[in-house]
Every structure is written in structure tokens, then in C-alpha cells.
Symmetry: D2
Subunit: 408 residues, 4 copies
């Protein structure tokens, strides 16, 4: 690997979980650790350097990298199942973690096989953490040729994970030729800075602030090819990364809802007093608490079931390889869009109405019970849900799949 | 089989579909036939004698009966997938058809193996149609011993399918001992009459009126054993029929919603004029039509995904056999209850809001477009959805599964 | 009045209610009469000739006409209050009745004072019933000069009340000059025919089918002036009729919802059995029935309160006269649009969910309990509610009032 | 007045607004002042001492006190209209302010006329601020006779305004006789302390923490009589304070919703970028933003209209005096309960969905745009909305009004 990429020394010898079961157990353990102080960490809202070290030490970062390259060799199904408990208790750091997996995996959607192999091997060996800098609503990055390297410059907002990342995926436009290239940037290298401008109401630990590149060096090994979305119109596969981000968002939505309802149930069981005129001895026997809880859980289960069905369809598309058809991609895109609509509605309703189960005292700030809604409200605005519904509607009305783009 | 059971001569030699693929094709064909005049049949609202003959002639009635007993040998997964197109276009007759499968299969939840085998063989050989007479809110049926037979008397409302059935499942209480027994009654036999009192706003072709038994003969071969729900408290398996009915209702809910939205899309594409101030040339380009359609489809897809996940859990429970645990039954029960809540909400919203896609002219009675809502509104009242939500809530709050009962 | 206008002989001497209190009592009596057989009349769905005779005999038709012209001299506030009971029990005929008042009053928005006076006097003297033929989505009517008269030709759909009307308001375009004129047509005259094509799922007694004019004679006294919407751009007053129609629709929405909930409460009190696992002795003690009923009533009361506030604003605008400002009209238009959105949501939810209070047996067709939803679903499609919400949104976002048009 | 009551010296000569118009203008000015730094004050969440001084200096505190006692002499209608702008921009301090008016007015519901007169005169003269300590879910306060005074002891949670109050309304039980008495406590006196335990997610400036009384002196002039709710069962008037609190909560709900939507509109106009695939140049032209905004505004307007109608009914009840009937009180109670249900739904939906109008960047913490939802979510939990819906349902189903109690 290029000397320009400098990875941190691992704080200790990584202990790679050796199997899916090990990995699942490691994630459960991490979820418990994160749960212990999520309220105070969330309130402080610092960039999650400590949390990333926790993940690194646990050896979970190269989960998707094949065993022959030093990774754990999980598939997406096993991965998303195993990390769900983390997303439930701390969807904020969980966002950065889930995006790490997307960003470190999406390089596979490019055709530069040697670079991909080297990047994966290094990621596994050094337990590297990945972020992204791809917000399509900002101006693009510029790539200035400089000998065999490029120098990349520009600013990207909403660069989830970048502030704490060892490697950052991005794309940039060559100043000389106008060609758009997919690149990987050393997050620890010179010319990369973070204004620390992420202080939002939710997803506070997701490191989603902006990143500034000022002539940061991009070695040729870190140029993965023409941009996956725009550069390879023959290939529906190239744009699967967008669908993967959307699917991961659905998992985050559902996980936040599940976390809120689990917390609410625990609170109701242990702290909520029955209402004076309810005629029951325990809050858990209140008819309205029971039914409202049941309705919310039912909607969340439905969103979860659809999220998984969409995920299965996406996995099938990802496994199809380069011969993936437009229609197969389109079917996955529609199912994911529907899951986005359904999970958005479910998580917003669950995280807001959950307070009607717990009662007024759960509004104490110390409970941080509002973090579920704040997380939900923030992450569901990633891109407007009305346009996801529109995509589904257009397909059902006319049979036309969404054009692959920055959000579809 | 007893001479007391008289099956009609098949109108023609049954042509059993020989494979799941054949069966699926046969159902698709039947859906097309039913679609052709569903509006006029639905308006007339006659008992579906003709429709049952259609099913009989197509040879689809013994779908679940093992091949070695003369049936097609499908599993529930294949069956429910294959009949979905029928449920979409005509959920009213589809209700009777789906219940036929439940009623002819549920005898397997009893322990009288010889009778079960004989009943299945006869059903396959003669393409028998099954109904049920089990409404738990009515007074129970009485069984009067009469030599080796029983004479059954009483009235049951909401006996879906019974009016057009060759065999009717029921349970009754022995007048002499008070024992409750599961029985099968010859629907064509003496002492069985149908007041023809089903004239409801929806599910008009489901033959869901009442049935009266006046000393109808029940031969000993048609006594299947102690009542499945109450008679065998050691056995969670015995009460799986209730969950199966509930799961089938979820499939009906989803199918009605799908049918409504497909019809609405077709209408919008071909007949709806764009609104004057919409600024678009086609109704399918109207932003509100697009997004509303997409939202409705998304909710229905979510309900469908959960319905299938619940169905898979139930199938696993059914396949477990007599050693099924309370917890495994309970998990299935909760998932099905959640699917009921989700699919109820989805189908009511879809069938009512669909008119906002098609516009005012779709209220012409000739379009019968309201039949989707009328069907949905009728079938979703089978048992109160609030109590299904309550079951989910109780489980989430306290970990307690629903007690097996007439609706849970 | 012109000999071309032929009114029916009143079946008996009209007994004009002499006061608002008399009028209110007369309407209450009519509501009771209509309630007695609304189910069977609604099922038959005939044009409401008999109902109009009932209104005529009761002397309620000239309610808004000043006493000095032979009318009762009510204002809109008193009228809408008094007829609400009629709209609750039979919103279908109530639709035609309410539109009668709009159509017979809207002539006041024209400047031809002598014709207006004569038409009002005749309406009072002969208890005339008014309909309209103004559906803006159809091609316009043509006016062919014929001596001092015009001959009007063309077809209008959704001409509520026209089939049973003595007088029909309309507008047409002069074939020679292209001028658009507001006219009144003798509904009993030659050249006016009704295809009887109103057979819709709801509002079946509203006589909302199409009307065909084939050289029907329009005497000069029945030309009221340039078309109110388009002809007098200096005058916001001219287009108040559109707002009045919209406000009346809101009253109909609320009334349907009230009727459905009153019927549901009566049914629940007298017929619904408590659910088996509810633990209560009466359905009215079921916690979910109580709360759901309360939620529906609350939403309907809110829609009603807004409907009345909007109506008050409109009445103020109507009373302002010709100096009405664009802004004052605009404020009324926005409040009415908001009431339309609110009342649409409320009535659809109330009429569909009301079944969850009454239970499954209320789906018996004999109860005709679905007529509330069918009426609601039909009338709320008068024009797309999404565009009413859009009008409110545009105003709130930009301060721009809706442009006076056929629906705004 | 007793020497035990020590009021602060007014920081400056109160400038009583001399008329309703002056008062309205003063409130508008205060709203502008509060709006300037509401975000930072809300974040800090300190007890609103400074804000109360602002109100005191503006002379608005004795708004409801008759002019002959030195007050401004407004009625509730004028007052609630005038303070609405304050509630919109800062519902958190607005909560304490609105409760000041309730607490300083509710003494009129007692029969001790001389004490009431004296307390009102002092309130006007010294611009006193009032809080309350009446949370019915806590243990009651104890009154120990001590010569001619009582010594009051106990703790009350959710004592909105008490921490910054000069006078605190409460009730306590005599240790010797068990009689329950309505009292007024000097908030600045000895024996009154505030743990400062209000650090909740919303309504952070409402001073809603607990208050501890440790032998605080209550002079005989500050004993107003038997407790208004329980002491005078003959008098529906005595319990009107509860309805007044509930009505004021409705106004707060609506005001929060209005504030959120106004802020969202401003943000959308000035900052939101149109979505990439929207095809429009301005966010305010986006069809989904327009319609969603319009739907939210419509629901809020409906809740507002019902809130006002309920308020009018309550004002009529308050003006009736001691002869108020149970039915008249009951009618007001039901309308207020319906307004609570409607306004709760409206404000929760508006404050959460408003983010879908503004887009992702509005989640920046600096915008504090989430404070609307946090305020809404906190205040709407005052008492469970399901039980308010239940009250409405019981009345509609059975005609029974709510029993006057701590929340009804």
C-alpha cells in the first residue's frame, strides 16, 4: 500500500471474531457497553473517537472482508442481524458503524480489482474504520493531477463517519479531463480537516459534520475507476451502493423504533404509575397503554419485515454481479423505497407516541428518552420521504423504475 | 366412508393439477374467470354455488391433501402464494375458498388418524368443498347420542362457506356427558338448513350466513376427538387452527388492498383526467396521486411482508407436530396478531384512499370500486382489532403470550 | 315573469314558516320523516322527486328570500343551523337541498337587480326548487341568439339537483360574441332532459346526474349578466358562490360524520355485545369503544368548529357587498379550504372507523350503516382535497391567496 | 394584608396598560423580546426569574383583576387572544405566564370575598406573580394550626411557576380536623424552598419543578375556604378551575403548533433548497411541501377553532356564577376534553412533521427547531389524552358527564 496512507497502530492485537456466532456475541457485548453510558455520551455529542476504538479493539471492523484477505467473511444478512442490538441502543454511533461497512464494502462495486484487494487486506490487518464524503447536494471535489498522484480539494457536508475515519470514500472530477473518478482518501493524511460542525438534535455521535480537503494526496492505488453512479451506465451494479445506503437507513429506522419501544416497555414496567381513574393496579394493565404499545409494535414489526424483504432482494442483486439487469435492480429499488416510507412512518410514530406509554415523568432530561425521537427525526430527513413514496407510486402507476441517482 | 355422507357426483372428471406450477397456473386462470364478472356477481350477492363448481371442476380443492391420498400435496406456503390472485380480484369468494382449505386441513389437528385419512381421501376423490360452523360467540351445538351416531342440533352464525359446503367442521357438546367433541357434518345431509341470511355490505359471496342443524346425523367416523381448543390443554398444537384462521384473514386483508390499488392504478392510467390546476398532462403525472399511491402501496407491502413472516412462523409451528411448545405457539400468535393489526390498518386506508387517486367518477356504481372497502370493512371486523393490539402490547410489556382461545 | 318559465302548481297552499324558530322546527320534523325510511330510499336511489315535494309542502324552500319578497328572510347562519339535522340523517337528499339554497341565492351575486327580484318573488310564491348545471370540467354550454331569447345547448355532468329542479342556474357562451353569461333555465321547459345517469355509490338521492340542454329557451329576464367568475374581474364578490359551495360541502361532511357517530352510539348502546375478553358487561363500557368513539367525536367537533368559523368569515364577506376586497375574500377562501381539509379527514375516518364501535353485525346490509361512508367517500371527491391543502400551504408559505376559479 | 406576605418591591413603577389595546400591544412587544433569545434561554433552561421581571415591568400581570381593584380588567377572551403571540414564540415561559393568570384568578372560585379582594388589590399594586402547587398525584399538604395561623408542610411536584412566584395557590388538610382548605402561600416567605429539579426535555422555562413547604406560615387571610373541588359538592362552579387549566393547556398546544409552523414557513422561504428531482426553483414551490404544510395548518386551525369554542363555553360557565348547573359545567367539560384530544393530535403531528418542510439542515442544534416538539411532547403529557377521549366517548355513548375531579 502507498506510504501516503497511514493507519494508526492498533491499540492492541485485534481479536478477530472467528465465526458469525463470535461476531454476534461481540456485537451483543458492545451493545451492552454502549448502553451503559449512551445518555451522557449522547448529551456531550463528541465525535465518536472512543467508540471507534472500542469497535477496533473488538475486532469487528473487517466483518465483510473475506477470510482469505484477513476478514471475518460475513455476508450482509449476518452482519445486519448481528449489529441490530448496537443500533437499538445507540443508533447514533450505530449510524457511523453501519456506514463504515457500506463504505468499506462499496469499493467492490468498482472494477479496479487489485486496489480493492489491497484496501481490504489493509483494512483487515489494521482494523481500519471507513467514512464517506459523498453528499451529492454539495459541489463536487476537484482532482488536480500531481505527478502520479492527484491532489483532492473541496468540502463535503454530512460526511458521516469521516471525522473519525482512517479511510474516506469519495468521488472527484479531474480538473484536466473532466472525468469523474471514485477515490479513497487517507482520513489521517495531511490536507484533511474537520471543522467539527456537527451539533445536531439527533444522531449526535454519528460524526456527520463536514470534511474539508485541501490538496490532500490521492495515490493511484486509491483511484478505483470511473464513478460508480455516472461512469458506467451499462452497469446497474455500479449504483447498488446507493440502494445499500438506503437499505441501511431502513435498518436504522427500525432499530431506533425497537429501541424506543423496548425502553418504553421497561420504563412502564418499572416506573410508570397507573392513572388515577384507570381502575388498575399496574400501568402495564392499563388498557390504553397495552393497545397503544401493541399498535406501535405492530407497525414496527411490519416495517422490519419489509426492510428485511427488501434487504434480501438487494443482497440477491449484489450477488448477481456485473450482469445485474436494470429490472432486477429496479425491483430492489422499489422494495427499498417502500421500506423507507414504511419505516419512516413507523419510527416517527413510535418514538413520539412512546411517551404516552411512559407518562410525564419520562420527560425528565436525565432519562434522555427523547433521544430516540431526535435520532429518528434527524435520520429520516436524509432525503425527503415524499420522493421515495413518489418513486413507488410512479412504478405502480407506470411500471417505470427509478433512474439510478444519488438517492435512488 | 359412511353412507350418511353423500357427496355430489363431480360434474366432470376432476383434473388434478399435477404440480405446484400447474396449481399456480390453474389459480391464475380462475382469477381471470372470476374477474370477468365479479362486479355483477358481487352485486347479486348469491351464495357461491357456481363459483364452488368452478373450483371443483378445476380440481384445486384437494390442494393440501397429500399425493398418496389423492391430493396435490402442496404446503401452505405454496397454496397461499398460488391463490393470492384469486383473493385479489374476488376476496369475497376467495374468503370461502381460503376457509375451505383451513377447514379441510384443520382436521389434522385432531388425533383420530383413521378418520382423518378417510376424510382426506374422500375429499380428494370427490373434490369436496368444506365450510365451518364454529362461531364461538353463539351458543354451542348439542350432540345427542343415537345408537352409534350422534344427532347434532343448534344454530351457528357467520358460518363461512357452510351454505355451499359438502362437509362442515364444527364442535358440539354431548348432552349425556358434557364432553366437547370435534365433528364433521355432511353439508348435504338431512337436518342441515341455511336460512340464507347473509346479505351484508361486503364479502357478499363468502356464504357467511347462519347454518341450522336439526338432528343432523354425525357418524362415529366423523367424530375426530375432543375439541381441539379446550380438550387438550397439554397440546399447543391443538389450537393452531385458530392461528391459521387469523393468518388467512391477514392474507385476505393484504389481497384486498392489493386488488384495490391495482384497480386504482389501472383506472388512473386509463380514465382519470388530470386536475385542472395540476399543470400536468396525465393523471399519472400528478404529484399527489403519485405520492399517495406510493404511500398506500408501501404500507400494504409492509403488511404483506409481516403477514408472510408470521405465516412462516406458523408453518414452522404446524410442522413441529405434537411436541410444539407453548412458547413457539406464542411467538407465532404474537407475530400473527401484529400482522392482523398492520394489515387491518393498511387495507382500510388503501381501500378508502384509493378513490383519491381515481377521482369522483370512480364512484359510479357500475365500477363497483367500493367493493374493496366494503369487503375490507366487513372482514376486518371478524374480531376486534383493538384486542389483537392488546395481545401484542401485553406480550411486549409483560412477556405473557395470549391464552389459546377462540380468537387467539 | 316570462311565460317561458313554467312552475308546477303547488300541491297545496305553502305554509311558510313564519320565523326562524318555526323554520327550525319544520326542519326537525322533516329530518324525522326522512329518517324513517332513509335506508330503503337510499337503496332504491331514485331521483328525489318525492323528497322535493316534501320540502315544498313544508314551505322551507324560500328560506333565504327576504320577507318583503315573500320569503322567510333567514340568514345563512340560521339556515345552516336549522338544516343540519336533515343533513345528518339524509345527507344525500340534504345535498340537493343545500345546493338549492346556494343556487337560488347565488343569483344575488349578479348585477341584474330586476331579474333577481323577480326570480326571488316567483321562487317564494311558487316554492320553486333550484338546481345547478355548472360542472367546470365539462365543455361549456352554447347560447344561440334567437330573437329576444337565447337557445341553450350542451351537456353538464354532476348537475346536482337539476333533475328535480324548477330552475337551473348555469352559464353559457354566446355563439355570436363569445361573451360568457350567467343564466337561469326553466328545469321543466322543453329542451331540457335528464339521462338519469346518477347511480353512484353514495349521495344517491342527490340527483347529481347529467342534464342535457337541446335548444332550451332562455328569456332575457333569465340572463343575469356576465359570468360571475370570469366576467367581473374587478369584483371579488362575484366569485363568492364558489366559496359558498365549498363551505356547504364542509357542512355536509361534518353532518355525515355526526350522523354516523350518532347512529353508531345508538347501535352500540342497544345492540352491540361486549367482547368476550373485555371483562365488561356492556359494550358501552368497553375501554376501546369508549376511547375510539371519543377520538372520532373530538375530530369531528374540531372540523365542525372550523367549518363554522369559516362560514362566519364567508358570511361577513357576503354581507360586505360589492366593495369586498381581494384580501377579505382570500382570508375566507383559506379558512374554507382548511375546513375542507379538516372535515374531509374527519368524515372519512369517522364513517369508516365507526364500524369498530358497532361490531361485525352492523355490516348487515339491512342496517345500511355503510351509507355514511359511501356518502362521505362520494362527496369528498367533489374536488381533490390535496389541492385544497395546497392552497392553504401556498398561502402560509408565500402569502398568496387562491386565484378565484371554479373550485376556489 | 398580613405582614407574613412579603412582596418584592417592584423594580420600577408599574405602567399598567390602560386598555385591552394597550395590553395587546404590550404582549406583542414582549413576544418580540422573548423571541430574540428564546433558543439560548431554552437551552440554558434556568428558572425564568428574568422573564417574570420582564412581565412585571411591563405591567401585564394584573390583567384579569378589575379596574376598581387596580387591575386592567380584561376578560379571559381578551387575555387569551392577547397573550397568544407570547405562547407561540416561547410556550415554555408562556406556560408559567398563563398559569399565573389561572392561579391568580381561581381564588374567585372560593367564597371568602374579603380575602379575595385583598389578594387581588395587592397583586395589582405590587404586580405579583402567581404559581400553583396542586399536583393531585402527590401526597397532600398538611396544615398544622399555630395560633391564628397555619403552618403548611409537604412537597408538590410539577408546581408550575412556583419557583418564581410571589404567591402560590395550594390546598392542604388540617392535621387536627381533617378539613381540606384552599390556601395561598407567600412564595418568598420562610419555609418555602425549591429543589430546582426541573430539567426536562421541554417546557424548560416553565418552572415546573417541585416545591417544598417546611412549616411555611399561612395567615388566616390566606385561607380561602373549603377546597374548591371537594369541599363544596353543591357547586359545579367550585371545580371550574380544573376546566380552566385544561382549556389553557389547549391554547398552549395550539400556540406551540402555530409557532412551529410559522417558523417552518420562514425557514422554508429563506433557507430550504428545492429537492434535486423536484423540478422547481424554490422550496416553496415543491408540491409536497405545499400540501403537507397545508394539511398541518388545517388541522391546527381546526384544533384552534374548537379550543376557542370550548373556551367560550367555559367563559359562559364562569360568568354564570354560583348557580351554574351540573349540565352546563358538563357541556363545557366535554367540549374542552374534545379540544384537548384534537389539539394534542394536531400539535404532535405539526411539530414533528414540520421538519419535513424545512429539510435536514434544520436539525442543526443551533436552530433549536426541535424545541417545538419537545415542548409539545412534554405539555401534552400533563394528563393522559386517552382518558380525555374516554370522557368524550362515555358522554356520547351514555350521556354521562365527567365527574369533577383533579383533571376533569
Amino acid at each position: 500500500m502507498s506510504k501516503h496512507l497511514q493507519a494508526p497502530e492498533p491499540s492492541q492485537q485485534p481479536k478477530h471474531p472467528a465465526s458469525p456466532a463470535d461476531f454476534t456475541a461481540a456485537c451483543a457485548g458492545l451493545a451492552a457497553v454502549l448502553a451503559a453510558d449512551v445518555e451522557s455520551r449522547e448529551l456531550a455529542g463528541l465525535a465518536p473517537h472512543a467508540e471507534v476504538e472500542l469497535f477496533r479493539d473488538a475486532g469487528i471492523l473487517p466483518a465483510l472482508i473475506p477470510a482469505e484477505r484477513g476478514g471475518i467473511g460475513l455476508g450482509w444478512r449476518e452482519l445486519l442481524t448481528a449489529i441490530r442490538p448496537i443500533l437499538r441502543v445507540d443508533a447514533s454511533v450505530g449510524h457511523a458503524l453501519a456506514y463504515h461497512y457500506v463504505n468499506s464494502w462499496r469499493i467492490n462495486l468498482n472494477r479496479n480489482a487489485d486496489s480493492i484487494a489491497a484496501l481490504e487486506q489493509e483494512t483487515a490487518a489494521r482494523q481500519l474504520f471507513w467514512g464517506g464524503a459523498g453528499n451529492p447536494r454539495d459541489a463536487g471535489l476537484t482532482l488536480m493531477p500531481d505527478g502520479r498522484n492527484f491532489l483532492v480539494s473541496g468540502r463535503k457536508f454530512f460526511a458521516t463517519g469521516a471525522e473519525v475515519a482512517d479511510r474516506i470514500t469519495a468521488s472527484g472530477t479531474r480538473a484536466d479531463t473532466g472525468e469523474k473518478l471514485a477515490i479513497v482518501i487517507d482520513g489521517r493524511g495531511s490536507g484533511v480537516s474537520h471543522p467539527g460542525d456537527w451539533d445536531n438534535i439527533g444522531q449526535r455521535l454519528s460524526a456527520s459534520g463536514s470534511v474539508i480537503f485541501d490538496n490532500a494526496i490521492v495515490a493511484p492505488e486509491c483511484v478505483l475507476g470511473s464513478n460508480e453512479q455516472t461512469g458506467d451506465p451499462q452497469s446497474p451494479r455500479g449504483s447498488l451502493s446507493i440502494l445499500l445506503f438506503q437499505a441501511v437507513l431502513c435498518h436504522l429506522h427500525v432499530a431506533i423504533a425497537e429501541g424506543a419501544l423496548e425502553s418504553a416497555a421497561e420504563y412502564t414496567r418499572t416506573k410508570t404509575r397507573p392513572w388515577a381513574t384507570s381502575g388498575v393496579d399496574l400501568a402495564t394493565e392499563d388498557p390504553y397503554i397495552r393497545t397503544t404499545h401493541g399498535e406501535l409494535v405492530s407497525q414496527v414489526r411490519a416495517a422490519d419485515a419489509l426492510t428485511w424483504r427488501a434487504t434480501e432482494r438487494l443482497i440477491a442483486a449484489m450477488e448477481t454481479g456485473w450482469e445485474l439487469s436494470d429490472d432486477a435492480r429496479g425491483e430492489a429499488a422499489i422494495e427499498i423505497a417502500a421500506a423507507k416510507v414504511s419505516s419512516t412512518r413507523a419510527v416517527l410514530e413510535a418514538t413520539s407516541k412512546a411517551f404516552e406509554l411512559t407518562g410525564a415523568r419520562a420527560t425528565a432530561r436525565s432519562a434522555q428518552f427523547d433521544r430516540f425521537w431526535r435520532n429518528a427525526r434527524t435520520i429520516t430527513l436524509h432525503d425527503p420521504v415524499a420522493y421515495k413514496a413518489q418513486e413507488v407510486g410512479i412504478y405502480e402507476l407506470t411500471g417505470v423504475y427509478p433512474t439510478p441517482s444519488a438517492y435512488s
